[in-house]
């Protein structure tokens, strides 16, 4: 092969390589954005539960119960959680990383606990449970819990997808250049001690 043909061949091969690298990088970026998108869903599903606490719960528990410690604690935790979900200057939710992630997930766990305590109190209080408001409220609570569960699963799936694309070849080759790290997005994980059931008295369902 003469020099110019060889140079053309090399040039084309390099061009093809570069384009594929760009393509691979774009794939990784897409998956990173998907993980952020799913995190936004997680945030909004928790938002739904804090909204339930702020808006629907007061009517259900009635005026006199709102001063009780268990409900004040819940409202505080809800506000703290809403505060710990941060957004960037464009309003996009920021996926917390590293130490921040531990803090946020700890906050979530604290909110979960306060919520269970409040729900337990309500379930034992016949004045509250006998209302239609409570029945509707329980449907909404179940719905919001289901959404939280699914949002977390979707987020974890998106993180796995992202990690796969970054850690497997050929993504691993490109990832460093684009600044993509495998641990950029933390998984939603169990908190220490969360695998022990909260110390709440579970009423046995009456038949």
């Amino acid at each position: 092969m003469d020099t110019s043909a060889r140079n053309w061949t090399i040039g084309i091969v390099i061009a093809v390589l570069l384009f594929s690298l760009v393509g691979i990088n774009n794939g990784i970026v897409g998956k990173a954005n998907e993980a952020r998108n799913q995190w936004a869903n997680v945030q909004s599903s928790y938002q739904r539960r804090t909204d339930l606490v702020k808006q629907s719960m007061p009517a259900v528990i009635g005026g006199s119960n709102q001063e009780l410690a268990v409900f004040k604690e819940l409202t505080n935790q809800a506000a703290a959680l809403a505060g710990s979900f941060r957004r960037d200057e464009f309003g996009q939710p920021i996926v917390p990383q590293g130490a921040d992630a531990e803090k946020v997930q700890g906050q979530i766990a604290a909110f979960d606990k306060a919520f269970i305590n409040a729900m337990s109190y309500m379930a034992d209080n016949p004045d509250i449970t006998s209302t239609q408001l409570y029945a509707d409220f329980m449907v909404q609570v179940e719905g919001s819990e289901n959404r939280i569960n699914i949002a977390r699963r979707d987020y974890n799936a998106a993180v796995t997808n992202y990690r796969n694309s970054v850690q497997m070849f050929p993504g691993s080759f490109v990832a460093g250049f684009g600044g993509h790290t495998a641990n950029q997005f933390p998984y939603f994980q169990a908190q220490e001690g969360a695998d022990q059931a909260p110390s709440v008295d579970f009423p046995t369902p009456a038949q």
């Binding site: 869903n41 599903s45 766990a109 979960d112 606990k113 919520f115 269970i116 729900m119 337990s120 309500m122 379930a123 016949p126 449970t129 006998s130 409570y134 029945a135 509707d136 329980m138 449907v139 909404q140 609570v141 179940e142 719905g143 819990e145 289901n146 959404r147 939280i148 569960n149 699914i150 949002a151 977390r152 699963r153 974890n156 998984y187 939603f188 994980q189 169990a190 908190q191 969360a194 695998d195 059931a197 909260p198 709440v200 579970f202 009423p203 046995t204 369902p205 009456a206 038949q207």
Partner: protein, 264 residues
Amino acid sequence: MKGISKVLYSLLVAFMVATLASSALAQGSEPPIPPATVNGNYVLDQLDWLTTEQEAEINAIVSELDTHNMAQIAVVTQNDCGADSQTYRNTFFRTWGIGHKEKNDGLLILVCWYDGDTSRRKLEQEVGYGLEGMIPDTMTARVAQQYFVAAFKTGKEAAQVVADHDAGAALVRMVKAYDGIIRGDTPVELQKTEGDGSSALSLLLIILVILVVLIVLIAWLSDGSGYSGGYSSGGSSSSGSSSPSSSSSWGGGSSGGGGSSSNF
């Protein structure tokens, strides 16, 4: 009321403990999702609850909603929905892709029978993102309560309710109620349950079914442009050129867990 609330509460707490303890639920015990229905069939009656007429009625109603791009309703009866029927229904919904893809206007009505076990059997409903505004969780619970759970509280044995196709009729009534809600006709409280003994009514329904089938055939023959068919797994948007021999009835919509779960 207290008994029900305690059951609900225990369910909720168990649910939350599972969420707290692990973010990844065990997948192993979930039964496989049956293949999606095709060709304008919106019902998968694995428990044989519905008569042919009832099934045709439901298909007629949903077909109307589908061709007018208003919603897609799936009615499925199944015995085993796995250990967690709430998670299962979401997987089911997404696998089938219920609802038009751009609007996510799908609704899944899933009966989880568990051999009639009163402590496990559930009517699960999952609502797509786009329909959640019109059909919030509490409304699905009310529709379930008013039209479905009530059918099992008449004093008859559950097995008898099923054998007499009362359960099937209840499912038809639910679909009609949702049809009314989606079209904005009448509020749920005022929905009248149709008597199913009148022969004039059945004649009307048969004519309606024939009309709808004719419309569907015409749409199908003019290159299937009436359907937003085609299986979608997060890929490109659905086109109008789906092959008519066996195209999925579903538009590829998704859901985020909205809906409700009713004991009966």
